[in-house]
Structures are given as structure tokens and as C-alpha cells.
Symmetry: none
Subunit: 202 residues, 4 copies
Amino acid sequence: MPKVSDAYKEEKRAALLDAALYCFANRGYEATTIDDIVRHAKVSKGAIYNYFKSKEEIFLTILESRNDNFFLDIRAHFHACPDATSKLRHLLGRLRSLPIDPDRRRWGLVHVEFWLYASRQPELEAMIERQYGTFIDLYQEILLEGKASGEFRPDLDVAAASSLLLALRDGVNLHLYLISKNHPFETAMAEMEDMLLRYLKN
Amino acid sequence: MPKVSDAYKEEKRAALLDAALYCFANRGYEATTIDDIVRHAKVSKGAIYNYFKSKEEIFLTILESRNDNFFLDIRAHFHACPDATSKLRHLLGRLRSLPIDPDRRRWGLVHVEFWLYASRQPELEAMIERQYGTFIDLYQEILLEGKASGEFRPDLDVAAASSLLLALRDGVNLHLYLISKNHPFETAMAEMEDMLLRYLKN
Amino acid sequence: MPKVSDAYKEEKRAALLDAALYCFANRGYEATTIDDIVRHAKVSKGAIYNYFKSKEEIFLTILESRNDNFFLDIRAHFHACPDATSKLRHLLGRLRSLPIDPDRRRWGLVHVEFWLYASRQPELEAMIERQYGTFIDLYQEILLEGKASGEFRPDLDVAAASSLLLALRDGVNLHLYLISKNHPFETAMAEMEDMLLRYLKN
Amino acid sequence: MPKVSDAYKEEKRAALLDAALYCFANRGYEATTIDDIVRHAKVSKGAIYNYFKSKEEIFLTILESRNDNFFLDIRAHFHACPDATSKLRHLLGRLRSLPIDPDRRRWGLVHVEFWLYASRQPELEAMIERQYGTFIDLYQEILLEGKASGEFRPDLDVAAASSLLLALRDGVNLHLYLISKNHPFETAMAEMEDMLLRYLKN
DNA sequence: CATGAATGAGGATTCATTCAT
DNA sequence: TATGAATGAATCCTCATTCAT
């Protein structure tokens, strides 16, 4: 019989995750200590182990949840997109808005860190493949819709193209995270749209 | 009158770097201990500090040297490339050859790890910008040559395009490093070539 | 709501300082390892870092606290001293009681070690000057009181004399710490009192 | 059959001792590494072990030799001193000249460091007692001469007084080494002479 | 459930000394 | 003898996790 409500627990859990994300983003996963996190969350050191069983679990929980939310958010926005081209443009628009938000840039690094981390741990391979697969599915859906509607050329190889688009997206993301100045992101992004549409439309 | 020849020292240094790269690649930079490295190199723990002053220096030395060698190698191959298109194809060819070599995949992860590492240390910002700049310059050269020769369209925005191409390359690399199976890399790579040429030539 | 009372923490902290002083006294600061200290205090290695952030901090804390206590103790005893001469005699009496206590001799060496240590670290210069200044002030007070009361001769150079007396005290201390046998300390101490009174009184 | 002359060896040995003294004086005994010394002496690391069998031996050799030289020097100067008072004044004069020579101040710290070091090692007790004894003998000689000549009062306790004078000397030395500023050493030294003569002469 | 003190296995680095050449 | 690379024990400090209260 718990003494506190589930809502309270959930809130605390979320606060801990927020604090952890903040620390991971600023210091990196390895460099972040449990002390950093609890200090930030204004919680005692022992308490955190009532909510998560290890630092790794916190890390994985954050990544899962951010991925899930990302998809929910995308799907929500897609409702307002009448066709494949506008969906694609929406995705490109997300990239474009990145440079102006330093927080989101730092968060991006956590994702990359997770990929590295997971790539060394066989038991996390499944997680990474699943996340990758979800993205691929999303891109394939759009491409298929575009083919069906005639927006995109009929001979487009959907499987290959979605994998290519995703790589392009992550590459641009990565550079946005890492390179902080003197690079023509704005125009490069416009070029990207140009390149993609040339490629997809015929 | 040193007791050992410079060649011997250079060899040993190289052996230590190799051992370190092996460990970094398999375990990651943070997770690799000096003990791991010296065990692998079959030297004593103290010995390594005759060659490098810290674990970080080893890491940075590896990254610098791999980058330098990469460029030397590229430049060497470019001599056999008569025009911009063939240079571009050479670069794409390097990407293509990646999936079949598990070692090179693991090494790639070390580069990504370095980016992350460097992005959190202000004093390494210069190094990352320099490496990035070197790549950008390489791409710009090719694009400019292609424009001059008429291979590429005259209105191509070279600065933006090179930044875009580099992002695409790193994104594809990243996915190659991370995703190990069930993905149509071969065809995706062909699509990439198709996409790029559509974009550049028109 | 801390798990343990402040009193408990204070006690433990004091126990750690005691253990450290014991080790410093017997082995010296440099030769004492954190392992020595925690073994002596019967705590785990990590525990000590909940109380002090470094071996140096432990050292400095001990020295500061011993100095402070020394002054409190002196001041307390001075209440029972009606004039400057008796205060001076009290200070001399402290020196006299040293040879019979081997512990206090060893502790004295720790103070000397601190002087050496501090003299090599610019950031500790202030600490050493402060401690020195506190002693000088104490001696000056006594000498001024003695001059005012007519106990000491009116032309006494208080600044120079206090510096001289302090040097004499520390020299005697040093020899007491270092030389363990075959030396006529008792009579030397009596001579010292004789010398000082001849000098001060005229 | 040595390949180099004894003179060469002796020179090198001396150079190593000089370098070591320099390092000990500036960094302290513990903090000085063999590397420091050989770098300073421009000698290889292995070579030093052809001359001394350990860092400790170097330390002890320096201290012995400095002590010996000190006595030779004193004795040489004493030839020009017609009576006990002038001998005493010569010793005081040495103290006086200290503050102006930063090197000698630093060297003094090495002596103190040696005392500390030796006081923790039973096998060095003899060395410290011997050095102490040599000084005591020197002082006793002077005092006895002064008593015999009528310069000093006939009831002077020579054993106690010499021990007292030596303590005073070392105390003043110590403060000179440690306290670098704002203290009236000049006048304190004059006061010391005054005090001693009052005490010795009656 | 919360607290934060305690634990102790590591980890990077140092350094006196040895020894092959 | 000289050289300086090699050795590896020793050291300080960190930090995820546990657990008594």
C-alpha cells in the first residue's frame, strides 16, 4: 500500500528524468554522476534508486521516451499535411528550426551518445534496430504515399530512398550539433530541399 | 646517444596507438582503461607514459593521424581521377566499401566518439573545426572543378552544396556504423549516386 | 532531515582528524597515505571524502584547528595571570612540559612540516603569515602590558623583541622535537627564563 | 680499471649534488624526482645510479657535506677572531646576512626538511645527534673561552647556555626561512645581540 | 518512501629503480 | 660507464550502488 499517490510518483520520476537529461546533455552520459542528477533534481541520492534501478536504466528510459514523444509529435503534425510533399517539408522544417535552439542541439548529442553506447552492448542492439525501423517506416510511408498520389516518380526505390533520406537527416543533424559557427546552414538546408525534390519528383 | 633507434621508438609508438585504437574501437574511449591498452600492446603500465602523457593525448593523436592519413590517401587516389565526377565517384566508392569491413566500422565509431568528446571540451573546438574545414575544402574543390569543367551546373551553390554533401556522407557513415543488418545499403548507395548527380548536373 | 545527527558527523569528522594527525605525526604528511588514515579511523576509503575533499584539506584543517585551540587555551590561562611576567612564565611553562610528552613532540613536527609545506605553496603564504601574525600579536600584547605596568624596561623595542622571543620559542620547540636525549633541557629552560628576564627587565 | 679519471668522476658527482640541492631547495625532497635532478644536471637517468645508490643517499650526502663545509668555513673565520665575543659576533653576523640571499634561505629549508626526515628514521637518529653535537661543541668552546678570558660571567652554565644559544639560532633561522616580509629582522637581530650579551656578560 | 553516509572496486598517473644495449 | 626505455607497485581520488535509520 503505497503512502504516496501514483501521480506524485510519476511526477517525481519525470523530474528525475528531466534532471538527468539536462546533465547528460551538458556533461555527457559517462561524465554525469548520480550526484549531478540528484543535486539537479533536488532529491536525495538514495531516492533515485526507488525509481530507477541504475544509471543506465535512466539513460535508456530517456531515450525511449524521447523517441516515443518524437513520433507522437510528428504524427500529430502530419494530420495537417494533405500530401507527401508537405509531410516531407514538415520534417525538413524541424531540421531548420534546430540551429536556433541550443538546448535541442545539446539533446541531440545525447541521442548520438546513446547510439554509440548501444552499439557496444549486444543486448541493446534490438533497441537501436527498433528505433531505426520506426523511422524507416515513417519515411517509407511518406514515399509510398507520394508515389501513390503521383507526387513522386513511380520508379522510386522506396526502401533505398527512405534509408538514404534518413541518413541525410541524421548527417545534417549531427553537423548541426557539432559545428557551431561559420557554416551556411540556412542555404544548405534550402539546397537539401532542392536536391531531395529533384530526386524524388522525377 | 639514445639507447634505441628512432625507428624503434616510432614503431613502438605506432604499436601503442594500434593497441589503443583497437581498444577504443571495441570498448569505447571512456570504457577503455590504460590497463586494457598496455595489456594489448604487451608493455608495462608505466611504459605508455614514455610515449604519451595521458590517455586523452593517445586519443587525440589517433584521431589526428587517422584524419591526416585519410587525406593523404584521398589525394593520392585523386591523381588517377581525370575529372570532378570521377573524384566524387571515388569518394562514394569509399563509402560503399565500408560495410564489408567490420574493423573499419568500429573505427568509424571512434571518430563519432571523438566528435562527441570534443564537442564538450572548449579547447578541442578548434580541432573539430579544423577537421571539418579540411573536409569542406576538399568537397568545395571538387565542386568548383566540376563547375569549371562544365560537369556540374553553373548555378550550383558550392558552399552550401559541399556542406550538404558532407552531412550526407557522415549520415550514411553513421548508419553504416550503427545498423548492422537488414538494410539495403547497396541499393541505397546507388540511389545516393543517382540523387547527387541529378542535383549537381542537371 | 539528515540521517545522522550533526553531532554524529562532527564526532566522525573529529575522529578522522585524530586518525590523520596520528598518522601525520608518525609518518609525516607526504608519507602518510589515505589508506593509512582510514585504516586507523576504521572507515572505508571513500568515507573520508564525505568529510574532506583532499588529503591536503585534512592537513590544513588540522593545522588551523590546532592553532585556534592553542590560542583559546592560552587566553583561558591568561585570565589567571595578574601581570605580564606571569603570562610570560606561563608560556615558558608550556615549553617546559613538552619533553615529557612524546605525543606532543611528534605533533610539533607536524607543525614544522606544515611550515615547510606552506612555504612552497604561494597560496598558503597567507595562512602562514596569519598564524605568525597571531603569535606576534600575542607576544606584543604581553610586552606592552609589561612596559605599561613597569615590569619591563621602558625602552624595550616591542616589535623587535616579540619577533625575537617567538624565534627563540620556536627554536627551543624545534630542538625539543628533534633531539631526544642527553641534553640539559631542564637547566637550559631555566637559563632561558633568566636570559629573558635580564633582557626584558633590566 | 676505470676508463675515466677520478677527477672526472668527482666533478660529475659534485655536479649531481649541486643539481639535487637546487631541486630539493626549490621543490622539497619528496617533490623532487630523479628526473628533475638529472634534467638539471644534464645527465642521463641511469648515470646517477653510478654515483649514488638512491635518492636518499643523495639527500644525506648533501646534508653531511654542507654541514662539514659549514664547520670548515666557521673554523677558518674563527682564526681572525681574537676572543669569544668576536667569535659570537661572527656567528650572529652570519644570521644577519641571510635575509639578503634568497638561495641560502631556500637551502635552509632543506636542512629543516632533513631534520624532519631524519627524525622519523631511527637509523638516522645518530646522524642528527652527531650534527647537533658538533654545533653544541662549537658553542661550548666559545663559551668556555669567554669564561676563561673573563669576557663572560664566571657562573655561566655552559652546557645549558650553548643549548639555549643554538635553539635561538635555529629559531631565528627558521623564521628567516619562512617569513618573507613585514618583519623587523634588522632590529630583532640587534636586539638579539643585546640580549645575548646582557645574558652572557653579567 | 526518503535520506545521505558508507562502501570499495577501480582508474589514471607517478616515479624510484633496473637493465639491456 | 652512459643511456633512457621499461617496470610495476603505490597513490589519490571517483562514483555507482547499498543500507541502516
